[in-house]
């Protein structure tokens, strides 16, 4: 069934007939002053509070060692980053259902947000969106220089006109729906580890 043009017109006519007489101006968003100091430290603190963890590695070679240490029993490691091969490259995945068995997904975030510990991931970073959500565990590479202070700065940095999907991910999946008790791993990733590693070290 196609929605007829008339429904759209009926709604618009009803809205126009109902619009309040008083028009309110857009207030404009002021620039809130921030100190640029300790962004990485704040990011890490808030990531911990969100149930995630952050790690430093000396070089790209250290990523593989760390992934093994964090997930010793992982069978399927699906990577969307050049720094680590994993057992399955995301490039060969044609359909999201193929990701149902992924133990660990590895992606690189565009930037992090200090005030929440969230990271920004787009469809281009995930390659197949479902990698970010079907994987039992996530490893996220992040350049520590790419951390913004707050959501105002974050939204100046996202490019929603360039991607079909973008997500601020703040730690692993969580719920508090049974007696307000916090449990991680509700439907998405059970754990989320951020590894600080500049992208230039490829």
């Amino acid at each position: 069934m196609e929605t007829s043009k008339t429904n759209r017109e009926i709604i618009f006519n009803a809205i126009r007939a109902s619009l309040p007489d008083m028009k309110v101006e857009h207030p404009g968003i002021p620039v809130f002053q921030r100190t640029a100091a300790h962004l990485q430290q704040l990011f890490e603190q808030h990531l911990n509070e969100a149930g995630g963890a952050a790690h430093d590695v000396a070089s790209a070679a250290g990523v593989g060692t760390l992934v093994k240490a964090l997930h010793p029993k992982a069978k399927v490691i699906c990577s969307a980053v050049p720094e680590i091969a994993g057992t399955r490259h995301i490039g060969i995945v044609k359909d999201p259902h193929e990701l149902a068995d992924v133990d660990v997904g590895i992606v690189r975030a565009r930037f992090g947000v200090a005030e929440s510990g969230a990271i920004w991931l787009t469809q281009e970073d995930l390659v197949v969106d479902a990698l970010g959500f079907l994987s039992q565990h996530l490893i996220v590479l992040l350049d520590p220089e790419h951390i913004v202070a707050d959501m105002h700065e974050a939204y100046r940095r996202v490019r929603l006109n360039e991607t079909a999907f973008g997500c601020f991910m703040m730690g692993p999946s969580a719920t508090a729906d049974v007696e307000a008790t916090l449990v991680h791993g509700a439907q998405g990733a059970r754990s989320l580890n951020v590894i600080f590693l500049p992208a230039s070290e490829r």
Partner: protein, 468 residues
């Protein structure tokens, strides 16, 4: 012709309160804990009050230019490849969703939480037509398995104990009724939902905000369940109320800083996802729903309720909601926001709700978009009185109170008389449970030895002995 009955929140609240000594205090404690976390988060942000003012003004700006922003959103979302549908009301919304599913041969649907889909009663409509609908949010899934609507817009099953959930899962999923560990219960639903995500022909979500500038809508969850539903099945359908528009991307910074802090005392929800057109190899349909919203926009006293971002802070702070439970409102939206939204759908059916409030004003104080909720509750009382929906018991007590407050000398006499009377009134008269469920677990406050008026005359007025 079916006869619409008035919901009776007092009777329903009484059932919640008297069922045992566990549920009501637990409910109260959890929501108050959430409120305290919200207060800590708010206090940690120096510009918190400024953000509330900005959010309020941006919403008012958008709503007073709603036609323009809806056109802009439609234009940009279409350009990105989304299919836009317009639904006048709930039944049209359901029809549109059904026809999209039918056209794609979809027999099974996985959905995330959407109050709008609740409002439209979508699930029973689709199930009657042979489509299997599975809720993927844990709280919503619990409520679906129990055949109940959500009792809270953010924590749908917050009125249930872990034992309730364990017994429910034992009955419906076949798990151990004695294992009531929330970790175990969460894992049960995770394992139960995974195959459904993979089998579903479509995923459905709601939308927390729709950004006109880019044709993007965004969805906030803690579980990541909306993202699985949107990224695994080939078809994504989103139901979005026409009031969810936001002009520009940069406006989102204000709203996301407020939303999760107000809702649950966290800086963000775990997932804040932005959908701008269909994903790679996917198809995206957006159903924009009016269902009374355009009419509400034309109500001078009530259109500000359209600013609501569904955080639930007003419910968590409300002394009446916390004690009576969300199901007692008998409506899709409960708590203070429900009291002012529900009557716009059916004034008679929800005519009792505006009286299910103490008018303490706390809801207006915590609302992140500064809706004048308690003022609107009072205005709804006036509407109900004018329509003659006022229940008899309240008509009587209001006329007595009206007379007494209109004659100050009688009020003073009564007030003085009340003190001694309280001391001697038989306890059963004040604490008659069947007359007044609110007093069941409460002691009346002591009556002051001196009234404020007496104190004022003695200490502060020109008639008394002013100190210093």
């Amino acid at each position: 012709m079916s006869i619409v009955k008035q919901v009776n929140p007092v009777a329903a609240a009484e059932l919640f309160i008297i069922q045992d000594h566990v549920h009501e205090p637990m409910h109260d404690r959890f929501l108050w804990g959430t409120m305290q976390r919200r207060n800590q988060q708010a206090a940690a942000i120096p510009e918190w009050e400024e953000l509330r003012e900005l959010a309020s003004k941006i919403k008012e700006h958008t709503l007073t230019h709603l036609d323009l922003y809806l056109e802009e959103f439609e234009r940009n979302a279409t350009k990105r490849g989304a299919h836009i549908h317009w639904a006048l009301d709930a039944s049209e919304h359901n029809q549109i969703v059904y026809s999209i599913l039918y056209d794609h041969g979809v027999k099974e649907l996985i959905k995330s939480k959407s109050m709008l889909q609740e409002e439209c009663q979508m699930t029973p409509f689709l199930e009657k037509r042979g489509i299997k609908v599975v809720e993927s949010d844990l709280g919503e899934r619990i409520q679906q398995l129990d055949g109940q609507p959500p009792s809270h817009i953010v924590f749908p099953a917050i009125h249930k104990t872990r034992q309730d959930v364990a017994k429910l899962f034992a009955r419906t999923i076949g798990t151990d009724p004695n294992n009531d560990d929330p970790h175990f219960l969460t894992e049960v639903v995770r394992n139960n939902a995974r195959p459904r995500f993979l089998a579903a022909g479509a995923g459905m979500t709601g939308g927390n905000f729709a950004i006109a500038e880019t044709g993007t809508f965004m969805v906030c969850t803690n579980e990541g369940n909306a993202d699985i539903g949107a990224s695994v099945p080939p078809l994504h359908i989103a139901s979005i109320g026409i009031e969810k528009m936001i002009p520009r991307v940069e406006d989102m910074g204000v709203f996301l800083r407020l939303l999760a802090r107000s809702a649950e005392g966290a800086p963000l929800t775990q997932y804040s996802s932005h959908f701008s057109g269909p994903r790679k190899n996917g198809e995206l349909h957006i159903v924009l729903v009016d269902n009374g919203r355009s009419r509400r926009l034309g109500m001078p006293d009530f259109w500000h309720s359209l600013k609501c971002i569904r955080c639930g802070a007003c419910m968590n702070t409300c002394p009446v909601y916390r004690r009576s439970g969300g199901l007692s409102y008998g409506a899709t939206y409960s708590g203070p926001i429900g009291v002012i939204l529900d009557p716009t759908f059916d004034e008679f059916k929800y005519s009792e709700l505006p009286f299910h409030s103490t008018l303490c004003g706390s809801c207006s104080e915590v609302c992140p978009v500064k809706i004048d909720i308690s003022d609107q509750i009072l205005k709804w009382r006036r509407v109900m009185a004018e329509k003659g929906y006022l229940p008899l018991v309240k008509k009587l007590s209001f006329s007595v109170a009206g007379h007494v407050f209109g004659h100050p000398e009688e009020y003073q006499t009564l007030q003085k008389a009340a003190g001694p009377a309280m001391d001697h009134a038989p306890h059963f008269l004040l604490y008659n449970n069947s007359l007044n469920p609110w007093t069941r677990d409460r002691e009346l406050p002591r009556v002051a030895k001196q009234t404020f008026r007496e104190w004022y005359l003695a200490n502060r007025s020109e008639h008394g002995n002013v100190q210093n």
